[in-house]
Amino acid sequence: MTKEETRELQRIAQRIRLGIVKSVAAAASGHPGGSLSVADIMATLYFKEMRIDSKNPTWPDRDRFVMSKGHAAPALYATLAEAGFIGKEELTTLRKFGSRLQGHPSMRHVPGVEMSTGSLGQGLSAANGMAIAAKLDKRPTRVYVIIGDGEAQEGQIWEASMTSVHRKLDNLMVFFDYNGLQIDGKITDVKSFTEPAAKWRAFGWHVLEIDGHDIQAIHAACEEAKATKGKPTMVVAHTIKGKGVPFMENIVDWHGKAPSEEQAEEAISHLEASLR
């Protein structure tokens, strides 16, 4: 990947962050922290890796993305807006009555949302189903998933992790958003979850560990996943909750709280400055 490409993806990630802040601020509720933490992954997936067509969102051979941590809906919507699946002006309808942009992603409301999520722990199972279907139909489809680190406390994640390996789903790639925080505090305090990479390795996954804000590392991980045969790939992506908005970074309270008007302005001007 060229430097220019990397810089462009970084700019897209910042625009996604702007969309997250603006939409959550307009909604006056929502989950900015874990949305901001995945913006670089979203930018790289949607603008470098995935074969998708916003003009033809149900194209059968398309790649699929499942936001298993459904509360990061603002990141998904901001990305879909960047990619042209929905209008950017629609982002400020997030969570409002009558809006397509439900508090958690609904596949029946928004083109480009491949699975309804929100109740945690379920997206990986659905993604397995999509990856199995692609193999049955001999389609080139690859399936991408983001799961939260707190979400991995759900048992179904581990049921699904066994399925991905048992079915040899090498068309499946999962990002583990390892920001270390969940609603009630640090993951290590709530229910300590240590050595995720070792856990998935023990389950039989091809496991990578990267800086989840390093666009080149995300891209390289995607390339490695494509080259890995017979196994699904898990990317333990070390991230910062609230990344890109300094006053939100690594502060647990920003898991599920909207910024005030002044705070939103501060965040927006900071992000816009990075785009100049």
């Binding site: 699929r64 029946r108 699975m115 309804s116 929100g118 199972s125 049955l136 179904q156």
Partner: protein, 317 residues
């Protein structure tokens, strides 16, 4: 109607129907959670190994996987015992198949207390209630082998999630190939004017016995096979209320939330008449033979006939 003596469990008919369906429709896939010998999906597994997915003992994961398959154009039949399919995986069914309006078909075997010796842990008396309350979910409880096969085919044709509940124990044949099952339509098995017995699943044949018992006492009972619990056949319930004046509902399920409740919702709003609900009366089951349990929990032809007399006695009170 036929008097053929061959008894078949509806779960066995489910398994056979899947194989037939698999021959006709390449998009049909089957999932099971380590119970394929009991749910009878093993026949499909042998015939179409590439379209059968053994998910291990992980019902939640199975339902989520089925949702993903459905989102990719497949017609998955996810199969397990009723208690696990509806209870263990309730949230998965609700969030993905239900909220996503996905084409997931749930094949739930071993419904009710005729599961028998396994005891209360495995006797699903809540599943119809759980599935019925999910928006957009279709709930079918077929009464015999023929109806089960037709229900499986109807479910595959239907766009959206469907829950099909079958039973473990062999049940008498009620229908032949001339029967035409339709989702949302009751079948009148016996005409009558004094009371209507509305039954589903394994309780339909006991309800026909009850009608015989009542006939000997000079009571004319209509018997409706209400195979589709949701959407319930409103017109058939209203006609029963208006034409016979009293109703008995009969199900191998809790009297809370199942067929009895569905019928009462219609009569209560549209045509109040006395209704007696025969079913499990807010208690758990226990180990025993199906016959012993049906006796113990008041699910025999005699029990149904007595309920009919009570309902008739309440007319006008």
């Amino acid at each position: 109607m036929t008097d053929a003596p061959q008894k078949t469990a509806t779960r066995a008919a489910y398994g056979k129907a899947l194989v037939k369906l698999g021959e006709l429709n390449p998009n049909v896939v089957v999932l099971d959670a380590d119970l394929s010998k009991s749910t009878k999906t093993e026949g499909f597994a042998k015939r179409f190994p590439e379209r059968f997915f053994q998910m291990g003992i992980a019902e939640a994961d199975m339902m989520g996987t089925a949702a993903g398959l459905a989102a990719s154009g497949k017609i998955p039949f996810a199969s397990s015992f009723a208690i696990f399919a509806s209870g263990r995986a309730f949230d998965q069914v609700r969030q993905t198949a239900g909220y996503g309006r996905l084409n997931v078909k749930i094949g739930a075997s071993h419904g009710g207390i005729t599961v028998g010796e396994d005891g209360a842990s495995h006797q699903s008396i809540e599943d119809i209630a759980l599935m019925r309350v999910i928006p957009g979910m279709t709930v079918i409880v077929p009464a015999d082998a023929e109806e089960t096969e037709q229900a499986v085919f109807a479910a595959a044709r239907h766009e959206g999630p469907v829950y099909i509940r079958t039973g473990r124990s062999p049940v008498p044949v009620l229908f032949d190939e001339d029967y035409k099952f339709q989702i949302g339509k009751a079948a009148t098995l016996r005409e009558g004017k004094d009371v209507t017995i509305i039954a589903c699943g394994v309780m339909v044949s006991a309800s026909l016995e009850a009608a015989e018992i009542l006939a000997k006492k000079g009571v004319s009972a209509r018997v409706l096979n209400m195979a589709t619990i949701k959407p319930i056949h409103v017109d058939a319930v209203v006609a029963a209320a208006k034409e016979t004046g009293a109703i008995v509902t009969v199900e191998e399920h809790s009297i809370i939330g199942g067929l009895g409740s569905a019928v009462c919702e219609v009569t209560g709003e549209m045509c109040p008449v006395p209704v007696e609900r025969v079913g499990i009366r807010d208690v758990f089951g226990q180990s025993g033979t199906p016959h012993e349990l049906m006796q113990a929990y008041g699910l025999t032809g005699d029990d149904i006939a007595q309920a009919a007399v009570r309902a008739i006695d309440r007319i006008g009170t």
